[in-house]
């Protein structure tokens, strides 16, 4: 299958002599396991690899079918591994049963034919084959073959079916294997590779993954990055995803998202589910989101973000700047909202004005026209849009009935509110299920 994605020849794979000694995992399964004298002991069922800090995990053991029983043989006893057979270093076979230990993965059972994320190619694929090679004194998993050709190759019997097709091999270091094996398999390399992706790419990958792998990927990501990716996803996909992960993890992710986006997600979930997620959050965050969820999406309160940096008019410029620095990771922190002693809205002051002023200056001296546009929580969406087009500002402050600022509406919140109504014509109902 032709693919436009980048394939990354690994450092390990191009190292001289390694290519010729690659062993195809798909081909080796079912081959004879022999002792030093060439006596058949049984047939190879699976390879066990141990994930640790290393980029290329070593084979820690074999599962071999001996006289109808599955036995575990320690990896240290492998003397030689070729594409046709496995030779053990001693004749004694201790027929212990395989017990999965933390970080262990079965190559045929957990990885082969399962979905993986090709981090460089930014796509989700099934593994057609896996390649082992001797490296640093151990037999290690070095490469993944995701080509459709190798998949077809495996259909054929005989030596042809076991021949590695090394032209389309991806370095093991640049894939994320998300196989659900009940244990924890996460190499630091995978984590690092994933953290380099843009949120929009991660969102695309999440949508291409099947349920279990999807949940596994979410568990693997840094919460901030995962939250950014979630914000890029379609509502319908996002809801499906949230139903597939634990309430605890869902609460963590929603806490990292912009509050208005989280509220929108929670609003669409059924009450029972959203309550059980809220119960896992910090009380302050849950309280804030509960209030946002209450608001109708067709009114200012429903589309605003409640993230505001509020300062008193008696505070100094340096106080305001310190607050901005503290919240610098929020991309909406472009200034501070100034209130009077009673908490009523006075002005919104941009960062540039704060920088131009003296650090010791009181904020009240900066309060002057142009004043920000303010609307009440109940203002209908159409009027909010009108205010935006009249004032050409980048944001509007939302105030409660006492004139206290409770949130802000940014231009992109307006776009969010307007777009779904027009773009989801196809995805609205779920037929008899809705």
């Amino acid at each position: 299958m032709k693919s436009s994605a980048k394939t990354n020849q690994s450092a390990a794979l191009t190292r001289k002599g390694i290519q010729s000694s690659l062993v195809s995992v798909a081909g080796a399964i079912g081959r004879p396991v022999k002792d030093q004298d060439g006596r058949d002991l049984g047939k190879l069922v699976d390879f066990v690899v141990k994930h640790g800090g290393e980029t290329y995990p070593p084979v820690s053991g074999l599962i071999v079918k001996v006289a109808g029983r599955r036995a575990y043989i320690d990896g240290a006893r492998i003397s030689k591994l070729t594409k046709d057979e496995v030779i053990l270093s001693s004749a004694k076979v201790n027929l212990s049963e395989f017990q999965r230990r933390t970080g262990e993965q079965l190559l045929d059972g957990d990885v082969l034919d399962h979905q993986i994320v090709d981090v460089n190619g930014l796509r989700v694929v099934r593994t057609s084959d896996l390649y082992l090679a001797p490296l640093d004194k151990e037999i290690r998993l070095v490469g993944v073959d995701v080509s459709f050709r190798s998949f077809i190759r495996r259909i054929f019997p005989g030596t042809f079916g076991r021949k590695p097709g090394v032209d389309k091999v991806i370095d093991w270091a640049s894939v994320a294997s998300l196989a659900d094996n009940g244990g924890v398999v996460r190499t630091t390399a995978t984590r690092e590779a994933l953290s380099r992706l843009r949120p929009a790419d991660i969102a695309d990958i999440i949508e291409d993954l099947e349920g279990r792998e999807q949940s596994a990927l979410i568990e693997l990501l840094d919460p901030d990055l995962a939250a950014d990716a979630l914000e890029e996803m379609e509502d319908e996909d996002l809801q499906g995803l949230l139903r597939g992960i634990s309430d605890e993890r869902a609460a963590e992710l929603l806490s990292h998202m912009e509050p208005d986006e989280s509220a929108e997600v929670l609003r669409d979930l059924d009450d029972e589910h959203s309550e059980s997620i809220l119960a896992q959050m910090s009380p302050a965050m849950a309280k804030q989101l509960r209030r946002l969820v209450e608001f109708d999406e067709t009114h200012a309160g429903g589309i605003m973000t409640s993230h505001l940096l509020i300062v008193k008019e008696s505070d100094s410029v340096s106080d305001a700047l310190a607050l901005l620095v503290e919240h610098r990771e929020r991309d909406i922190s472009d200034g501070v909202t100034v209130v009077d002693a009673k908490g009523k809205l006075l002005d919104h002051i941009q960062i540039i004005e704060l920088i131009a002023a003296k650090p010791t200056q009181k904020l009240e001296t900066l309060v002057k026209a142009p004043f920000p546009t303010a609307v009440s929580i109940e203002t209908p969406l159409e009027e909010v849009i009108e205010e935006f087009s009249n004032n050409r500002g980048s944001s509007i402050i939302v105030v409660d009935e006492k004139g206290k600022p409770v949130g802000r509406i940014l231009a992109d919140d307006i776009i969010d509110a307007m777009v779904p109504a027009e773009s989801t014509g196809l995805a609205q109902g779920t037929g008899a299920l809705s």
Partner: protein
């Protein structure tokens, strides 16, 4: 924001906006092949083989229900799951079986179009290419959602059989006996139509479809109850319509000595007690609606299921070079089916029934894999099928196997 909008992918779930999956899967059985097979069953054997339909309906309910459960619990499509659990050969085998069966079913849909056209005196060389172009255009342009209701309403004309069944004043006690007391002449004809009935009712594409749908809509265990209600309703509706088709044909065609159906007008004659002189037109409209509906969903759902092999879900708006497997499956099903029907002198009604025998044969590997998945506690967890359910699945699979192998035996040596 712009990026999110352009990356939106048109997938199976979003494609089917109006109907529930159970109803759609049920429709695969009230398509031209189903109606014709049931008509033949009633015309040829009266009420005697109604029990075959009864068993087929039970099998449909059980396996559709299993497919829904597998989809919801594993959150994977059938073909991908088979590759994952059984390896490359089985993955390719199941995908091939699905594609072949669906080429057969698609051929039956086009044969239905051709038969309906012939009732109005229009040549199949006009109607079949027109239908093939129409459905490909609607589906690939993404405008299917706007017309699916129209097709659905046309197809629902077949509910007329329920009324026609009562108006034909059938022998209800004979019908009850045929439904509950199994008996069968041990002839090739009887076995042929019984196998076709199994194959058309428990169609392979319905099984793959229900699972894909559950995965694509990201349905979870909490949705399972609703999904099962939908599946049971759809399957039962199929059985009920099928029952009335058989009863109507038994009371009209069979009672009047018309035991062989060679062309569509003979099948349409069963609707005379209800529609009188309009029977042909009513029958033709139903055929067209059901055929177009199934022909729109079938190649698409097959293409989605097959891309499971690569593990990279395709989308309707992917370019040809981005998703070659998706587009080649879609094209193969539509083209091969249309060409088969257009072979000069090919007997349309025979094709309609024969493709359902092929369905029954190709069902076997798929049901076998589903059985294996159902008993895998690592995949299914608490939803693993109980030993009693597994025994019932086993009996159904054995029954289909017995029908198919006896039929092959009789055909070769009989």
């Amino acid at each position: 924001m712009k990026e999110v909008l352009t990356s939106r992918k048109l997938r199976l779930g979003a494609f089917l906006a109006v109907m529930g999956p159970g109803i759609i899967a049920g429709l695969s059985d009230d398509d031209p092949a189903g109606i014709t097979t049931y008509s033949q069953l009633g015309a040829q054997f009266g009420y005697q083989l109604l029990w075959v339909l009864g068993i087929s309906t039970i099998a449909l309910i059980l396996f559709q229900d299993l497919g829904a459960r597998i989809g919801v619990v594993t959150r994977q499509g059938l073909i991908g799951l088979v590759r994952q659990k059984y390896g490359a050969r089985s993955g390719l085998l199941s995908a091939t079986a699905l594609v072949l069966a669906n080429i057969g079913t698609m051929t039956a849909e086009f044969a239905g179009i051709a038969a309906a056209g012939s009732l109005f005196g229009i040549s199949k060389y006009l109607t079949v290419p027109a239908a093939a172009i129409l459905v490909s255009f609607l589906v690939l342009r993404g405008s299917f959602a706007r017309v699916e209701k129209v097709f659905f309403i046309l197809a629902s004309v077949f509910i007329a059989y329920v009324i026609a069944g009562f108006m034909a004043k059938p022998d209800w006690s004979a019908a009850a006996e045929g439904l509950f007391v199994p008996s069968m002449p041990f002839t090739q004809e009887a076995l042929f139509i019984a196998t076709a009935t199994l194959g058309t009712t428990l169609a392979p594409w319905g099984l793959a479809f229900i699972q894909s749908y559950a995965v694509d809509k990201r349905l979870t265990k909490s949705d399972l109850k609703l999904l099962r209600v939908d599946v049971w309703t759809g399957s039962l509706l199929t059985g009920i319509i099928g029952f009335f088709v058989v009863v109507t044909c038994a009371a009209t065609l069979n009672a009047n000595g018309q035991t062989v159906i060679d062309d569509a007008s003979q099948a349409a004659a069963a609707l005379k007690p209800l529609a009188g002189e309009l029977a042909k037109e009513v029958f033709a409209i139903g055929l067209i609606g059901a055929a177009l509906l199934a022909a729109s969903i079938l190649p698409l759902s097959t293409a989605y299921a097959v891309t499971d092999l690569t593990g990279r879900p395709a989308a309707l708006d992917d370019k040809v070079e981005e998703a070659p497997l998706f587009h080649s499956t879609f094209a193969a099903i539509t083209l091969v089916a249309a060409i088969l029907v257009l072979i000069p002198g090919v007997p349309l009604i025979k094709i309609l029934v024969l493709t359902q025998i092929v369905n029954a044969v190709l069902l076997l590997p798929l049901l076998f894999y589903m059985f294996g998945i159902a008993r895998d506690s690592r995949l299914m967890g608490e939803y693993r099928a109980s030993d009693r359910m597994l025994a019932i699945y086993g009996v159904i699979i054995a029954l289909i196997f017995a029908c198919v192998s006896t039929l092959i035996w009789l055909t070769i040596f009989g």
